[in-house]
Subunit: 309 residues, 4 copies
């Protein structure tokens, strides 16, 4: 919607890194699997990618980290590109209004998860992508490699195995939805796909580039179309209203951009038409979002005036 | 965030009105009070106001209607301007994930409503405004008159009385929050203020103009400041994530603008920096939003490309 | 169902009193109103009444205390005697499975409370009794006076006023049910009746005698019939499954008798065909039941072998 | 608690069978697995066993049927006999106040099911019995054979396989509790044990005899002790308050006996000290209890005056 003046992103990123470095308090890493619990909360990286693929960065912006739930945004886009509106018969697009693992609303709503970004919803979207492609996690990896230009981007099998070993609750969700007929893949196979997908390692640079289609209204890095303009807008809308667990309202209030976070400490965000961002720092707040990551995005919108509101 | 090309709004509105007229299905008027139940669902009006106060309209855009919950956006802005961040100790800003009258989450969260736009939250905001001004509904009326330039804009006392006569559930909400110490005004007095406020009658033109400060980043019609730029952005964020009852995700997905609806059939919406809109048609969908109103806003963003995403 | 050997109750009571005196830990008095919060937790009394009106006691068994929710059992019996099975269209008879003030299930079940002993259910039963008699609390007082033979038994107006002053949550419940059409009395009048009823003062002796009809299969002290044999059995069943807030299962498991407790620290219990009991000690456990009272009833069933199981 | 006059049970059973035969409406068989859905709702049998092992019957009282959840009462007793009070750290004993499969309260209460008779609770009890014996279902079968004197009593492997094929929801429950650390057995193994156990076939005569220890205050058919008098009383208490899904209050109100039902259409009931009963008819009401079975037990208590209240 804009033909804005050019912004020099590098000085903005340097300023943010300095501000974050001076800021006490980083939260605590996710502790439900050992691989994440050992993360160093002093790490911080941030990247901004322009629609033409120019990318700026600061700190640990080239360091691969565990993407975790950030992948849910890409899986949603890929599935929507293949299945279109029919996807919404399997999953809603309303904020969940409850902690991200809650089974309560799932029960009230007959096995249809509220949105694609709570775990139940992501399982359903993965189930659809797997049904449509035969290899959900492989399709995702290929997409991220192509868009980021990083052919080394890959799964971390140790993390996937660790997730599986602590995956009772996701198994419960999957079987519960299967009991309503909303999962087609055999549950053990679905869980393997899901955990593999969450284990993808990528850097801030990789993810800022890979999310570029959301700033380019659906156009991939090679100029082909992944989503229609309308679909790209819709993915951004779901990210804004549902992308940060039970803190979506607070994130919209403070940052004002579509975003998707992961418990690895990463967050991607989109300024439609202008740029995509990725920030990483492993310390989380109580709602599972990166403390330094949210603070950095908050600074970004304050310094640049870029916000959708 | 934009320096966009001028858009000719009048032809867009004419096109939308034609499209809506050709569209079957208008939903049903709110039926919980007789005054609303008699509304004619064939009525339709829409107005767009530019930041400089120029206003365009089509259909019944000068016809006063019952604003109902639309007033919650204005009450929020007025209270935030007086109380600042301290307001958020009394009410949250997360989507509710449940029908708009639900007591469930209120009980789980110790009498702190999820956001200012569910009824419980609006009662809390009204309680704060009443405590700060001594006359919540009078303050609201004065503000709407000043911003719209319509000195005749007023309460409909018959509607307020009808609301009060059917107000057992709002009484329950207010007493329930009072039991947690989150309401200071005596409940009968608070309810009177609340119902009076909801009974305000205004036209699409009035409301598009009155919401202008949300497009002007907090600046009132007379050039004075109601909210800081940051606060105005925050009100827009709350409108986008919580403004349309349990359909906020769907509204963001389809329309992609901050908006606030009322069961009188009106909806206001904001294109930050560009314009404010108000549409009215009394037939509602199952979630309490105007069927023709949502469709008209959907057409507006499609025809103009104006969307925050 | 029994023609049991005569039991000498006095030595049993003496033994229980000695055991309780040696037992540390009495819980804490109800603290939501000042009148109850000041109670002396060292007080303890217990009475047993035989069907013929012979009454035995120990400790503070003639000391009047605040009956509170114990009255709900009597109100239920009186209403059932007047309205019969039609009462169950207004209130259920299933255990609530939630803390006694919960609004959650009330909302799921359209304003029909789960049973007559949660506050919501007692409000509904009081509403019915008031509709049928024009004076619910007066009817209750007259009944308790007649059955206990204590013409001085009366309301404590200071306690009733204190309850009213802290009655926001009960007001919320009443308005909430009124919104579903399940309350006929104007809410302020209903609350006055309800709080007055809860404020009745009676001693263990009074209550053990007044509950005698439940051991006599529905027959009042004067030989007239209040309830049919089947109805008396039904009141006992509701007491066993719902009489001790969220601890009904635990009470049945430990004591094994129909019982009804109150936050004043009293508990009545019934051995059908054999006797009625009342115990009082103001210290409560976390679920609102008298610590020493439950322990004393537990001792009673162990020492006498009297239990319904 | 009684030294009652001898009752002639056979004429009572004959009268009940005649009454039931004249009664229209039998409900519908459980339809979630084909094996049960084909049941003939005109079938009806009932047996009464005296503490000395004398057994009376009418109709299809020697016809084996699928015991389903009736086994939960026996599994509870066996586990309690081995583990004692420590069992209650893994499962509660409060009525659930929700349909029998609900995950909601399980989530609120950190993976501790409300009682041993909802599916989640039965899974936990089976997990404990399996940990203590190495073969939960084999232990149960051996016990039922010994008590009934029927060495042919066995699993129906086709029913167990059918349950497993439709067992997604039970898998969800088990994984969910495992995520809280409240299940020790690997979930697939636990489910196999659980479904096998539910598939046990037995007749009214078998089950009335096998439940005899509950009327004999814990003493087995061979005179040895399974439970203490206090433990036997406790199992009866749990049956009365939790034994008939979400209809426990109604069952206590109408029948007034400890009971446990199964979706195969069977119900066992206990008159402590006097007799045990089993009734079977496959048509169920909406809450999963046999329509003719509940009616027959209701008639039994009316005709004999035997009720715990």
């Amino acid at each position: 919607m804009s033909t804005a003046v050019a912004l020099a992103f590098q000085p903005v990123l340097d300023q943010i890194a300095a501000d974050i470095a001076a800021r006490p308090g980083r939260g605590r890493p996710a502790d439900y699997i050992p691989a994440l619990a050992e993360a160093d909360t002093s790490r911080f990286g941030m990247a901004v990618a322009e629609p033409d693929g120019t990318v700026y960065g600061v700190g640990d912006w080239r360091q691969p980290f565990s993407t975790q739930s950030i992948t849910k945004a890409f899986t949603l886009a890929l599935t929507l590109s293949l299945e279109g509106e029919a996807l919404w018969e399997h999953v809603g697009r309303e904020p969940s209004g409850n902690p991200f693992n809650s089974l309560v609303q799932l029960e009230y709503e007959n096995g249809i998860p509220r949105n694609p970004f709570i775990n139940a919803g992501a399982l359903v979207v993965t189930d659809r992508l797997h049904a449509l492609t035969g290899d959900a996690s492989g399709t995702l990896r290929a997409f991220l490699r192509a868009e980021s230009g990083n052919a080394d981007l890959d799964f971390d099998h140790a993390v996937a195995a660790s997730e599986a070993a602590h995956g009772d609750r996701n198994a419960a969700l999957a079987y519960f939805m299967a009991s309503y007929g909303n999962i087609g893949t055999p549950v053990p196979e679905l869980l393997e796909q899901y955990f593999r997908q969450c284990s993808l390692e990528a850097s801030c640079a990789d993810l800022a580039l890979a999310a570029g289609f959301l700033a380019r209204h659906g156009i991939r890095a090679d100029g082909s179309s992944l989503l229609t303009r309308s679909e790209a807008k819709q993915v951004n809308a779901v990210m804004l209203t549902c992308g940060t667990y039970d803190a979506a309202g607070d994130f919209a209030y403070r940052v004002g951009l579509p975003g998707k976070s992961g418990v690895g400490g990463g967050i991607i965000a989109v300024v439609p038409g202008r740029c995509t961002l990725c920030v990483w720092s492993p310390g989380l707040d109580q709602r599972g979002n990166s403390v330094a990551g949210v603070a950095a995005l908050d600074r970004f919108t304050t310094l640049t005036g870029l916000s959708v509101f």
